[in-house]
Symmetry: D2
Subunit: 342 residues, 4 copies
Amino acid sequence: SANIVLISRAFRHQFIIPDFQGFTKHIEDFYWKCKPNTEGKVASYIPQLARMNPDYWGVSVCTIDGQRFSIGDVNIPFTLQSCSKPLTYAIALERLGAELVHQYVGQEPSGRNFNELVLDYNKKPHNPMINAGAILVCSLLKTLIKPEMTLAEKFDFTMNCFKKLAGGENLGFNNAVFLSEREAADRNYALGFYMREHKCYPDKTNLRECMDFYFQCCSMEANCDSMAVIAATLANGGICPITEEKVLKPDSVRDVLSLMHSCGMYDYSGQFAFKVGLPAKSGVAGGMLVVIPNVMGICTYSPPLDPLGNSCRGLQFCEELVNEFNFHRYDNLKHATNKKDP
Amino acid sequence: SANIVLISRAFRHQFIIPDFQGFTKHIEDFYWKCKPNTEGKVASYIPQLARMNPDYWGVSVCTIDGQRFSIGDVNIPFTLQSCSKPLTYAIALERLGAELVHQYVGQEPSGRNFNELVLDYNKKPHNPMINAGAILVCSLLKTLIKPEMTLAEKFDFTMNCFKKLAGGENLGFNNAVFLSEREAADRNYALGFYMREHKCYPDKTNLRECMDFYFQCCSMEANCDSMAVIAATLANGGICPITEEKVLKPDSVRDVLSLMHSCGMYDYSGQFAFKVGLPAKSGVAGGMLVVIPNVMGICTYSPPLDPLGNSCRGLQFCEELVNEFNFHRYDNLKHATNKKDP
Amino acid sequence: SANIVLISRAFRHQFIIPDFQGFTKHIEDFYWKCKPNTEGKVASYIPQLARMNPDYWGVSVCTIDGQRFSIGDVNIPFTLQSCSKPLTYAIALERLGAELVHQYVGQEPSGRNFNELVLDYNKKPHNPMINAGAILVCSLLKTLIKPEMTLAEKFDFTMNCFKKLAGGENLGFNNAVFLSEREAADRNYALGFYMREHKCYPDKTNLRECMDFYFQCCSMEANCDSMAVIAATLANGGICPITEEKVLKPDSVRDVLSLMHSCGMYDYSGQFAFKVGLPAKSGVAGGMLVVIPNVMGICTYSPPLDPLGNSCRGLQFCEELVNEFNFHRYDNLKHATNKKDP
Amino acid sequence: SANIVLISRAFRHQFIIPDFQGFTKHIEDFYWKCKPNTEGKVASYIPQLARMNPDYWGVSVCTIDGQRFSIGDVNIPFTLQSCSKPLTYAIALERLGAELVHQYVGQEPSGRNFNELVLDYNKKPHNPMINAGAILVCSLLKTLIKPEMTLAEKFDFTMNCFKKLAGGENLGFNNAVFLSEREAADRNYALGFYMREHKCYPDKTNLRECMDFYFQCCSMEANCDSMAVIAATLANGGICPITEEKVLKPDSVRDVLSLMHSCGMYDYSGQFAFKVGLPAKSGVAGGMLVVIPNVMGICTYSPPLDPLGNSCRGLQFCEELVNEFNFHRYDNLKHATNKKDP
């Protein structure tokens, strides 16, 4: 049925990127430009991540009308890690409403170099894109949405939501990563207990289960291809461009994109917003979701990370992209003649 | 000549807001909705500001194709105060290039509640929208652009740039405010000396002249009507929609808008980006520049301020605006059916 | 045998407080002056502490030559809580040497109001008198001294050391407090994990055992009478005035007293050093050790605490004491004629 | 007349250091031990300090009964710099009382590495031994004590007080240093304005005069010999051992010594209190006051400073001193048999 949608659109000449083939040529160019970049180091705090092949490099694109393009290692499954944060936040917004969610977690950048001060001045985590905030969002999902579910059921429920965002494409779970993450998570346990001390969680939160749930969300696996569909669903106001299913409300998506814009790239977020100007979220396995609102979703995958935790090839790709196309949030659409409008 | 441009466009039915009259009806509605709002207090740190009439309330709109609408107290001149910060930053970018400017000043939000730590970890002010950064930008304008100019000449030069942004409309200077600001500026002098201690300024900077120049920029006067043209010039990639003069390069404008988005509303910036999602800059005299990129510029004017320093009526107006129209940066343009697309 | 020592000294007229009876009259006066003080609140974070009788009030004195005086509720056992911190630190110094111990923990006040930043700039806890530092000292005791000991054996070993400091007088253990502390210890677990993340512990540290050991030290019980002997042992350079056993080296005692002086009274430490000028350590059960070096040890016991966690009656007692006698560290001994030299 | 006092004491065998000649032998030893120490750098922020001879090295001792000993470059005048801070604080205490003074300035160490946050949480400078606190103390001296005095008269008044502390020995003033300090004082002006912003000063404070007064106090000159008398006056509860004049009350001296103990050695204060355990104050010209309460005052002079601003030879001398003698505040006087009691 997705095919029929695509075909009918093609007949009506309504594609958001009219010359998709020409556009993918550019993507291919950027891909090859970034390939020789061997900067950065694979994450090494657990052996499963340390063993990742630093040469993996893939880029997938999915427009809001379902046109797709992929190049490179786009079928290698990788763990979502922090790329799961905007997704769990989206589910929380969708099910609980922004007002309730933001009684527990803030909406502001945490400020560079102040990661030691884990809570903001209202004694809430700064935002859902940092570990403290994502742990808290997990406690909301676990404790406030269908609390009668067991941990196993809540995991299934969440994975199902992620799958819908991905147009039904396959997601996996890496149990070895989960077990290692749980073992190596001194900082996260410190955050978890610190927030319990400050009564950040909703009543009846079971901290250990909530931490496990958080590590499980981080340990889900997807490949570049499917992640691009997830990014496209966010670009498309919550409607999956492949299945046309309305997975999220536009308001939830708006809030997710706002915080990906200001807080999605760890301590580089401020500079990324300045230079690239697109909502994005990176994870330590090397994945990176990039959303061009109302146009397309992109996923890049390459394990080597810079010192701040963002994929080196992924960052370079984004810079190439906005240098060529008028995708920066604040590019002028009329007068910036040196940039292409695909 | 501006008229001819407008008329020719009207003939070609090319206006960015096709039904401008219908749109202005909504603006009028918002205006009347905000009028009874008597929250906030007029700035009182100098007598000239303390005497401002708290009832003043005006809104002006100017689209990127030059259509204009104004309601309320739009002809009362007020001092630019912090609304001058994006403008001096724009001139610095235009004349010196982003690379040089950002060797001296950062691009990141300073982090809520940490205004005491006035410099970031590279010993630079966090961004040009806070006082420390704006003082530094003034030192760049004074010391690196035509250093042979006297202070009087540099003031004329700058006012001229501001005028061009405003389509040639009249700007004034409030000498009483200037003298009072200079007298009452303990914090700014502290910042000024602190930055000199940390060798933040370019060589040959004369601190006293540079502080005077900063206070002079803050003490320029304009009315709501002209300020809306300035905002529209920013919305239009640097080309004034009234005169069609290319005042700024699109790249300079992109950088200005990026930092207005993340840092323009004092400590409320993060929440404003989340809720309203538009680049804006407020000043303590009650003015507020709002930019809807590629669409229009807005200025609101109402002296009473909330505790963070933003105009109360101005803030309410912005919220009304994005509740009704799909102007939030991350509103979905296709599927958010509950919002109007003017 | 202790009696013989006392008697022989008495014959030689060598007592440090020549007119002990006159002196105890003053102590009695201070005791009655503080008794009506009903300020403060009993600690309530665990039920066992919340149930303590707020009327309990006792003072015990033991000079370095073994003269003793007690008044009030001096036989009620209470848990040591933070009063155990100087004792575990003393054992660590004694067995491992100051150099080794201070490779792991600092020697500085942590700075008022900055308890969020739990580690100093060398990534060590600031000093052994705060929770982070005391947990670390427990890891040294557990991991570096006779590591072959089981947790039970290490507990016995430590209690034995405490007993020697107390001249062999009885110490107890409150298992209900231990279990509750362990349950309610979100902040301490957060600190524990945070320090493990920063590799603060010696190799082979088992964090869970080390935390249990820390809670066990806090849950030991003693009464006011015995605690005064411990304080007197510290006043006497490490030689217990009752048994004449050399329990600690003078160098270890010097370091303990230095840090009790600068860091022993939580966030009030700086002011206490200024006003009272004596090494002291308070605990949340209401106990307070006060050392007058080369003269005597004092213990006060009264459960109601001020907002910073120090016993209200204990604080008042110390102020009465230094107002009357020249015990403040920087009282002049010759010319301050308005103060008594007992 | 001073001689008569000395002689009469000598007849009565009442000297605090019974074998003064034996003791000075040790001082001489320490002096020669420290002489080859060529670590550190002469202060270089103004040319007058940069030109100081790094080889200068002098030590002077004055006991509370007026016995004196000097070795090395003890007649070279040097500017007091921060060594003036305890003296101005002492005058403020003496004339205004501790209660009034401490309404304006705190009593706590400022916390290592947090010198950026110049005010404590009551919006007061942390203590009178740091620049912010000393500037504030100068504003108290200038504004609250005989406010009718001109700046010149207030300078004379203050220098007179200093002279009395020094037993009438000569003090000078280095005008070149004063002018240079005033020129190079970005940080101090930043502090000055910052405190005015926070309304730290008493009413009617003239900031510029108060800053000038502060720089003048820093620019007074004395030599090592006279400074030792000042230290001895502090050791003797405020009575000058040379003139027997009661210059300060014992209570004022107690407070001065308390804060020299906890805050006198810049960011090294905590460690100095731990290792040396004596009240001291260093200045960037290389001078260092050391007080052994109830025993003697010492001054060392050697310009090369360690990175924290303390004289390298001075620090070494203090360590030698407490290694040999039981002068550390918490040395045990009875049982620490490895240390000498002079």
